[in-house]
């Protein structure tokens, strides 16, 4: 259990250093992806399986794909060619990312019981049912405000990306 924390904490810190130290933005995005996946693994350790799933789908899925898309859009064809040629840092990062995903999968198949700490927590702590109950009972107004925020961001994003700004 302790090993699980140290493994993914080390991975997150190493990948974080890589994120800010990489020369090109694309390897940097790869490092950020590793940070997100390592954090998702740590959320499993912290009795938050739902947050771990959201981390993988929203952060590593949606947001990072958008970032990589814009990176590819904003680099000239010559730069893009040099980005795609695999150098050493790419390979090291690929190995770390692969280890991270394999670790997450192994943790998932092994079952949550062996990962999470055996502390005295309320029954069903972190389960999606308890989460939804709390979310839609106590934080309904906040949820609606967040949806308005997302709508405003959607309209603003479309307006700003228009050609004749």
């Amino acid at each position: 259990m302790d090993f699980y924390f140290w493994l993914f904490a080390t991975m997150a810190v190493c990948a974080g250093i890589f994120t800010i130290a990489a020369r090109d933005p694309l390897p940097s995005a790869l490092g950020l992806l590793t940070v997100f996946i390592a954090c998702a693994a740590l959320y499993l350790h912290l009795h938050a399986p739902l947050i771990a799933i959201f981390q993988v789908t929203i952060y590593a899925g949606a947001i990072l794909v958008l970032v990589v898309f814009v990176i590819m859009l904003l680099t000239s064809p010559d730069e893009r060619l040099s980005l795609l040629q695999a150098n050493m840092s790419y390979r090291i990062m690929g190995v770390v990312l692969g280890a991270c995903i394999i670790g997450l999968l192994a943790a998932g198949t092994k079952g949550l019981i062996n990962i999470v700490g055996s502390k005295a927590l309320p029954d069903g702590f972190g389960s999606p049912a308890r989460f939804g109950d709390l979310f839609y009972r106590n934080y309904l107004l906040h949820f609606e405000v967040a949806s308005v925020l997302l709508l405003v961001a959607l309209i603003g994003g479309i307006y700003l990306a228009k050609k004749n700004l």
């Binding site: 302790d2 924390f5 904490a9 997150a12 810190v13 974080g16 250093i17 994120t19 800010i20 990489a22 933005p25 940097s28 995005a29 950020l32 940070v35 997100f36 954090c39 740590l42 959320y43 350790h45 912290l46 938050a48 739902l50 947050i51 959201f54 981390q55 929203i58 952060y59 949606a62 947001i63 958008l66 970032v67 814009v70 990176i71 859009l73 904003l74 005295a120 927590l121 309320p122 702590f125 972190g126 989460f131 709390l134 979310f135 106590n138 934080y139 906040h142 967040a146 949806s147 925020l149 997302l150 405003v152 961001a153 959607l154 603003g156 994003g157 479309i158 307006y159 700003l160 990306a161």
Partner: protein, 100 residues
């Protein structure tokens, strides 16, 4: 035994890395990713406190941070594309139109 301190130190390190990256890098895309790194560190801190105080409200806050991060990325990347159209670069030293 992993305690709350471990998680606080880990997320402080991640937040510090994000702050250093934001202040030192000159590529606008990497600045963006540094901000994401800082938001992620805050999420980790919230979930850790939620666990060690046995209060699930911290996990709910993480969902709101996800919404804010998604909005930030959508608007920020649109601004970046607009800037790129004007300047043809992602180097923030070239974004000096508003400089006095």
């Amino acid at each position: 035994m992993v305690t709350l301190t471990h998680y606080v130190v880990l997320s402080s390190i991640l937040f510090g890395l994000g702050a250093i990256g934001f202040l030192t890098r000159r590529n606008a895309m990497i600045l963006f990713m540094s901000v994401e790194l800082m938001l992620n560190a805050v999420n980790l801190m919230l979930v850790a406190f939620s666990e060690f105080r046995a209060d699930m409200a911290g996990q709910v806050m993480v969902i709101f941070i996800y919404a804010v991060a998604a909005a930030e990325v959508a608007v920020g990347l649109a601004i970046l594309i607009g800037l790129f159209r004007h300047v043809r670069s992602v180097d923030i030293n070239k974004f000096n139109v508003l400089k006095w």
